[in-house]
């Protein structure tokens, strides 16, 4: 009886994906305990974030893709309106206007856009069933660029690029022509020098430091240098949990959020990194599988985009912490401390699960 109830309760939860998420979250809590200077409060707080996020996931998993498809446009419009509201009335912190005060709490509309963007584009292409033409792609491109431009203006370059890429994934999976892709890439590279020459010296300097932190070891480059030292000194098997000197002696900045990977890497070493990369790969493979088995254009494109977006976040974060990408404020998915990103992430996984578990119903 109870098992039947549980079965019913979790019938839209993908057990494999769920297991992976649990494992990642477990890692998160352990790393967080070490990164926060062994603050159990921080761990509790993150555990609550996770519970909230998983609840959201459960709810979304129980909503059928068809229903999601119907709210896609609405979500997108609301998201864009909120972004405009941010630009007009948003509160400024750390020199950027990202938050909107809605009375009882503050929200960050760009987070909503992370989900709304792929949903909108997936919906758009699903309405143009069959082979989409060039006009469709141009319209999709405009739908993509409007919110991205607003977010870029905040300014939040990292989020803007990641949201742009989540939209781009839809375009790519929808069959954007290779000719266009190659052409765009070539023209972008051709425009680079012209763009570079337009910049002020200090702007160039800033970009140079982004790519070469050693140019400013005590300023902007400090974070990256300390993170690389942490990773490198972790060695093959790491210094052991709670034994990372860079971590425990406060040399690592932002070590519970954006730079948490350096903490993990220092304490668990190369083997730990491989394990984490493996875990992320498994999640991505599972997501791509769900996408490939999805039955409607909308769910296919959405599942693919969400999965690749998860990859983007993981790759950009690990890349910046290990010094091969410039530092942009992107958390490590599932591991970094923070409620909003955890909820958004699980919302995405909820959609994946919904797509996967509702396909038989559709077939029926």
């Amino acid at each position: 009886m109870i098992s039947k109830l549980l079965q019913h309760l979790f019938k839209h939860i993908d057990a494999f994906l769920m297991a992976c998420l649990f494992f990642a979250m477990l890692i998160s809590l352990f790393v967080l305990y070490s990164a926060s200077g062994q603050s159990i409060e921080r761990v509790y707080s993150q555990a609550i974030n996770m519970l909230v996020a998983l609840s959201v996931m459960w709810v979304v998993a129980n909503i059928s893709p068809q229903k999601l498809e119907r709210v896609a446009l609405l979500l997108y419009v609301v998201g864009v309106l909120l972004l405009i509201a941010v630009a007009l009335f948003g509160s400024i912190s750390h020199g950027a206007r990202r938050w909107l005060n809605i009375g009882f709490t503050q929200i960050q509309p760009s987070e909503l856009m992370r989900i709304a963007m792929p949903m909108m584009l997936a919906w758009y292409f699903s309405t143009r069933e069959g082979k989409p033409n060039a006009v469709n792609f141009i319209i999709a491109g405009m739908l993509l660029m409007a919110p991205v431009a607003l977010i870029m203006k905040q300014p939040d370059l990292g989020t803007a690029l990641l949201i742009a890429s989540s939209g781009f994934y839809v375009l790519f999976l929808a069959g954007l022509s290779w000719k266009f892709l190659v052409g765009a890439l070539v023209s972008l590279m051709a425009l680079m020098p012209a763009f570079w020459s337009m910049l002020h010296d200090y702007q160039r300097k800033r970009i140079e430091i982004l790519f070469d932190p050693t140019q400013d070891p005590l300023g902007a480059g400090y974070h990256t240098i300390q993170a690389i030292i942490a990773i490198g000194s972790g060695g093959a098997s790491g210094k052991g949990w709670l034994n990372g000197t860079q971590t425990q002696l406060d040399f690592l900045p932002e070590r519970t959020t954006d730079f948490i990977f350096a903490v993990f890497s220092e304490e668990f070493g190369f083997l730990g990194n491989m394990l984490l990369l493996g875990l992320f790969s498994v999640i991505i493979i599972r997501g791509l599988m769900i996408a490939s088995q999805a039955q409607s254009t909308f769910s296919r494109l959405l599942a693919g985009s969400i999965t690749l977006n998860f990859f983007s976040y993981a790759f950009v974060n690990m890349g910046m912490v290990s010094g091969i990408l410039p530092v942009v404020g992107v958390p490590l998915p599932l591991i970094s401390y923070g409620g909003t990103s955890m909820v958004t992430l699980c919302l995405g996984f909820g959609i994946l699960m919904s797509i996967h578990t509702h396909k038989n119903l559709v077939a029926n």
Partner: protein, 642 residues
């Protein structure tokens, strides 16, 4: 329907193709990350391991205890004590003024503290820790400690402070330490000692503190400490204890020093007493003195102004850097030069009419006694300080011969003394005058060198050393203040051995003549008879008076008619007991008037205590005028002049 299904399958096929491509991209990019990790964590592991170690392990210097300075009887002249100090690192403080005001609400910060802080701030870098308050008591330290969190960049430190318990006594000898400045850093770097001063804030700035810096400082220890990014020590990994500095033991006696300084009273001047057989300096007086404790943590501007702008110039190390015309105290050495050159040997004598003239000139070089001394031989010339006798002798010797000879007695050159900053003085020669003034040497200038006037300049140390060399029959011992260096770690004492600098070949008969002349100075009939009265031991001495302002021909010098600071300097050299000298000294009382009456009694008090252990009977006379008035009434005319 079929076409639609086909189309649908076609679309799915393309979608999977694209997915596969995306999967490949994911694989490639994750592989790139894996490659990056292997590069950092496997290939470059050692490199980053070292960097991490360097990050977390810091060498914290442990400052050694500075050696003590004690007198020959073990009386402490300089020692250390622990106290709290409140220090600010300006770079870490957002609003300096506000922070200081806020601290001021917890512990008292005087305007002097603020001024000193401001001075240091101008002199040091932004990231250096600068004291805002020193010598906090326990209550103040605790009060601040409780509120420490409110003041990032402000630290309370427990530090060793240097203290000079005897204060003003012998301060020119002991010297002081002060905060290390840029110039000190350059010097330390040049001498390769910079690493030993990691963590040290202070360095010897003057006197023995400066000269014996290497011995006193000790060797800095180090602690390997695990630190966090803010530089706070988390735990000690290993420790290498410091080696405390050596103690230095003086040949001077603080009691003797006190007697000598008290004897000077309010008067300006200098005195150096030397053991002629060893070169050990027994007393080293520069009056007025100052309190070296003012300098340890930076002197505030008011005290500095008071010291620096005082007409009495208390900061000048007079024995070493004060230059005076030797006056008649130069005569014994001129006499020695004459005798050794075969001139004026007994029974040669002159008739003194009260003046000397150069051939073919009417200019009169006057004797201090206008009526003249009558028949004068070498011994009597010294005893009564006959100017006419020495005018002629100098003329006959010639300036070059005279200068070359007396140079052996240490005039016109440095003595290699153990306080830095010694001045050479001046033994004028025609060559020097040509270089200095581009003028020829006139014979009259040689004449007055015979009585220690003219360009001739000596330091009190040189005068004392010359006296000691004479007392020691021409054997020059290196003068030095420190007799022992005690290694506090091993307990071993390194004795500063007497060092013979020079041996002047002198005819014993000639020595005997000069010495006898000097012995008679303190006997009835001599220019310092009162100094030798009832001494109980024989004193060989010579008085001197050095002109501060020129007196025109035919003008009479009237002591009471001119400003106190324009009066003559009083000089006095002596050694005793005359037959077996144990102490040789030179005393200069600036604007004191006559050597015998102003400087002589000081010498007598010093010798009495040193030779007999006798304490001075009466309080020193505080006022210059009174002293002259008193002595003038009781001493014979001979003593009022020389």
């Amino acid at each position: 329907m079929g076409a639609e299904l086909k189309n649908h399958l076609h679309e799915q096929y393309y979608f999977k193709l694209r997915l596969g491509f995306a999967g490949l991209a994911v694989f490639c990019l994750f592989s790139a990350l894996a490659f990056r990790f292997s590069y950092l964590q496997i290939k470059q592991y050692n490199h980053y391991q070292t960097l991490a170690e360097n990050n977390r392990i810091s060498l914290v210097p442990i400052i050694p205890n500075r050696g003590l300075i004690v007198d020959k009887n073990g009386v402490v002249l300089a020692h250390n004590f622990f106290a709290y100090t409140l220090e600010i690192t300006p770079a870490k403080v957002y609003n300096l003024e506000e922070t200081i005001t806020e601290i001021g609400k917890l512990v008292e910060i005087s305007s002097v503290d603020r001024k000193r802080f401001k001075k240091f701030r101008e002199q040091s870098h932004n990231f250096e820790s600068i004291p805002i308050r020193t010598h906090l008591n326990e209550v103040e330290a605790a009060k601040f400690a409780v509120n420490h969190y409110r003041f990032p960049g402000v630290e309370i430190k427990s530090r060793l402070f240097r203290h000079y318990p005897l204060g003003k006594l012998g301060s020119h000898m002991v010297g002081y330490i002060g905060r290390i400045n840029d110039k000190d850093l350059v010097n330390l770097e040049a001498s390769g000692d910079l690493s030993n001063y990691k963590g040290s804030d202070h360095i010897g700035k003057s006197g023995l503190e400066q000269y014996y810096e290497k011995h006193l400082h000790g060797i800095t220890g180090f602690q390997q400490v695990e630190i966090d990014a803010d530089g706070h020590a988390v735990r000690v990994l290993s420790s290498n204890p410091p080696i405390p500095g050596n103690n230095i033991v003086l040949s001077a006696d603080s009691k003797l020093q006190e007697i000598a300084e008290t004897a000077f009273g309010e008067r300006r001047g200098a005195m150096v007493a030397i053991n002629p057989k060893t070169g050990e300096v027994l007393s080293y007086v520069s009056q007025p003195t100052f309190d070296p404790n003012l300098f340890v943590d930076g002197i505030d501007s008011e005290n500095w102004k008071a010291l620096n702008e005082s007409l009495d110039k208390p900061l000048i190390n007079r024995p070493l850097r004060g230059v005076y015309p030797p006056g008649s105290t130069f005569k014994p050495f001129v006499a020695m030069a004459g005798l050794e050159a075969g001139k004026r040997e007994p029974p040669y004598s002159i008739h003194d009419p009260g003046f000397f003239t150069l051939p073919g000139s009417s200019h009169r070089y006057r004797d201090w006694k206008p009526s003249g001394h009558g028949s004068v031989d070498m011994q009597k010339a010294i005893t009564i300080s006959c100017d006419t006798f020495f005018y002629g002798l100098a003329m006959e010797l010639g300036i070059e011969n005279l200068a070359a000879f007396v140079r052996h007695f240490g005039f016109g050159r440095k003595s290699d003394f153990d306080i830095k900053g010694e001045i050479e003085g001046l033994l004028p020669t025609p060559e020097w005058k040509k270089r200095r003034f581009k003028q020829p040497w006139y014979p009259g200038e040689t004449v007055i060198v015979g009585i220690g006037q003219g360009y001739t300049l000596v330091t009190p140390l040189q005068l004392a050393q010359a006296t000691a060399i004479l007392a020691n029959n021409g054997v020059a011992m290196r003068p030095h203040l420190v007799s022992q260096i005690q290694n506090t770690q091993s307990g071993k004492n390194q004795i500063v051995a007497p060092f013979i600098q020079d041996k002047i070949e002198l005819n014993p008969n000639n020595i005997a003549i000069v010495k006898q002349g000097m012995m008679d100075v303190t006997l009835p009939g001599g220019t310092a008879a009162s100094v030798g009265a009832n001494a109980g031991y024989a004193i060989a001495a010579k008085t001197g008076t050095a002109q501060v302002i020129g007196i025109k021909q035919n003008e009479k010098y009237n002591e009471h008619g001119i400003d106190e600071r324009h009066r003559d300097h009083a000089l006095f050299i002596a050694y005793a007991p005359a037959e077996d000298p144990k102490i040789a000294l030179a005393v200069i009382v600036e604007n004191g008037g006559h050597g015998g009456s102003a400087a002589g009694p000081i010498a007598r008090k010093v010798m009495d205590y040193y030779l007999l252990g006798k304490l001075p009977a009466t309080e020193p006379v505080k006022e210059n005028k009174k002293s002259n008035g008193n002595t003038a009434a009781t001493v014979p005319e001979e003593e009022l002049h020389d």
